[in-house]
């Protein structure tokens, strides 16, 4: 057996054990009146779910449907945390969680199941701590590994519904394909900065459009929350909406004539707006969901290649880059040079190296101290430009040496290459490896890391 097969088998068995334990617990807990009357739920459950059960849309029957339901949440981040919390609170009987990341401090402003105390522990474990305290009744199934083409089917076939709470297109295509093959709907959401999107796919199974029907080809360069930023409540709203759509799918009987797929667009800033857009039906010949199309086995599909491996960009030779510690000694030696910071003005405003100040119009920060000039010219000024921006040319015309800094050390390599090609400072241009993050991590005096 391969490692992936063993992994799949292992997770199936764990799942079965958990299911049996829950059944046992619910048999033991089922309230029995002295006269022998049996209740459908435990007495604690009536109290716990009463506020939603008294709604005619839910009732006892709806509550029992939720209890019988098995929902898989893929990604326990900004979307998955609120979604899982509401599903658990509502009494969904079986909740599976897939994630292989560990909790980081930078997650906490939006990933509400995690806490300062669980930084460094696996997200699935951290989430379970919270969920079990919130509601001990559901069966929680941890899938503490990365979803992959070789394990997706084995995981999905034990669930009635999947929530796509991931953050990369390759996973979104994989989830959609696996959901079509296992005949379950997908509640898909995403968020970035101040916008969110929500759509229910393959619903009802076999009829509604899949992810590939809506987006046949992936975008060339998706922006992640780590790069683009995200406002906590924005992604929170989208996760809560996923839980809401999931509850409706689990409770409402399947319509005889499926309604057309709708995408909900949420924009939070500056004014709140929800917008509902009518989307296309299934695409004839869709490689994801058309029965007429002979499809490659999931395990043989390379989703990462399909979505394009993350752009490598320019890669400089090792001698064209300096480690933060080397640049530190340049500063300490007093050798005249210019430090060119190519982060955007917002990030420059969060923290920047001494010797610079901000205040010039058009977000250009420039200052001359005896030996050091620090200039902030956002990377966007370089992006797509065939020649150096005039301001950069002017600012660097007398430079003896230039060091280029960005956030993580990618953009700065591209700019370094451009400056060298333009003959700036007689070619004395270096990239500061790892950007200001690496600078922060190696600064003995401490420096903000964001």
């Amino acid at each position: 057996m391969s490692a992936a097969e063993l992994e799949g088998e292992n997770s199936l068995l764990k799942q079965r054990i958990q299911q049996l334990e829950t059944e046992l617990a619910s048999v033991q807990a089922a309230a029995v009146e002295p006269d022998g009357q049996k209740w459908a739920l435990g007495l604690d459950e009536y109290r716990r779910y009463g506020r939603q059960m008294i709604m005619p849309e839910i009732g006892l029957e709806g509550q029992l449907r939720l209890k019988r339901a098995r929902v898989l949440v893929v990604g326990v981040g900004g979307l998955g945390c609120p979604a899982a919390a509401y599903l658990a609170g509502a009494g969904v009987g079986t909740i599976g969680l897939v994630d292989h990341d560990v909790v980081e401090a930078s997650n906490l402003h939006r990933q509400i199941l995690h806490s300062t105390a669980t930084v460094g522990t696996p997200k699935v474990e951290s989430a379970l701590l919270y969920l079990r305290r919130l509601n001990p009744h559901p069966t929680y199934i941890p899938h503490d590994f990365a979803l992959s083409p070789s394990n997706a089917i084995a995981v999905f076939q034990n669930y009635d519904l999947v929530l796509d709470c991931t953050d990369h297109p390759s996973l979104r295509y994989l989830i959609s394909d696996a959901a079509v093959l296992t005949n379950i709907p997908v509640v898909s959401a995403s968020a970035l900065r101040k916008d969110g999107q929500l759509i229910v796919l393959n619903s009802p199974p076999g009829h509604g459009p899949c992810y590939r029907c809506i987006w046949p080809r992936p975008p060339p360069s998706p922006t992640s929350c780590a790069d683009g930023g995200i406002l906590g409540p924005v992604v929170g709203v989208m996760g809560v909406l996923q839980a809401l759509e999931a509850i409706k799918l689990l409770i409402l009987p399947a319509p005889s004539t499926p309604a057309p797929a709708t995408m909900t667009l949420f924009s939070a800033w500056p004014r709140l707006a929800f917008r509902h857009c009518r989307m296309r039906a299934r695409r004839t010949g869709c490689p994801g969901c058309s029965p007429a199309v002979e499809r490659t086995a999931l395990a043989d599909t390379d989703y990462v290649a399909f979505c394009g491996a993350d752009a490598e960009g320019v890669r400089l030779a090792p001698e064209e880059r300096v480690a933060p510690v080397e640049y530190r000694s340049v500063r300490e030696s007093g050798a005249p040079h210019v430090l060119l910071d190519v982060r955007d003005p917002t990030q420059f405003g969060i923290c920047h190296l001494r010797g610079s100040w901000s205040g010039f119009p058009s977000c250009v920060c420039m200052c001359v101290v005896p030996v050091l000039t620090c200039v902030d010219v956002p990377f966007e000024e370089f992006e797509g430009a065939s020649a150096l921006p005039a301001l950069v040319k002017e600012g660097l015309s007398t430079a003896e040496a230039v060091y280029v800094l960005c956030r993580l050390g990618n953009d700065s390599q591209i700019v370094t290459r451009m400056l060298k090609d333009a003959g700036v400072a007689g070619g004395h241009v270096w990239d500061v490896r790892g950007g200001i993050r690496e600078w922060a991590r190696t600064a003995p005096e401490g420096f903000p890391e964001y």
Binding site: R193, P220, C225, E380
Partner: protein, 104 residues
């Protein structure tokens, strides 16, 4: 020359390519250069010539059409339901370009 009043909107980060402004009220020429009624295909090239930040045009169009990962909604309907780039613009149409989001 006759024009058509329409509203063009950008979201999901696309507004960053259009002066960071989400909503644009535009008067679009009623006919394209070859004299045919203005359609979405013409609107896209009009936006490329007049509205998009030139340096970052490649983030909006690729090979003459809207880039992968950008949805076009005509009066809140997927453009695929309306004839895609052959849809002929009508007065007061609302055309929304949305970049697909992946964060979560």
């Amino acid at each position: 020359m006759a024009t058509i009043p329409i509203t063009v909107e950008f979201s999901g980060g696309l507004e960053l390519l259009f002066s960071n402004q989400r909503t644009h009220k535009l008067q679009i020429p009623a006919q394209d250069p070859s004299g045919n009624p203005a359609n979405i295909g013409f609107l896209v090239s009009y936006l490329c010539d007049n509205l998009v930040e030139a340096k970052r045009k490649d983030l909006f169009v690729m090979d003459g059409t809207v880039r992968n990962g950008i949805l076009v909604l005509i009066n809140d309907s997927d453009w695929e339901l309306e004839g895609e780039d052959r849809y002929e613009l009508q007065g007061a149409d609302n055309i929304l370009f949305v970049s697909t989001l992946h964060g979560g």
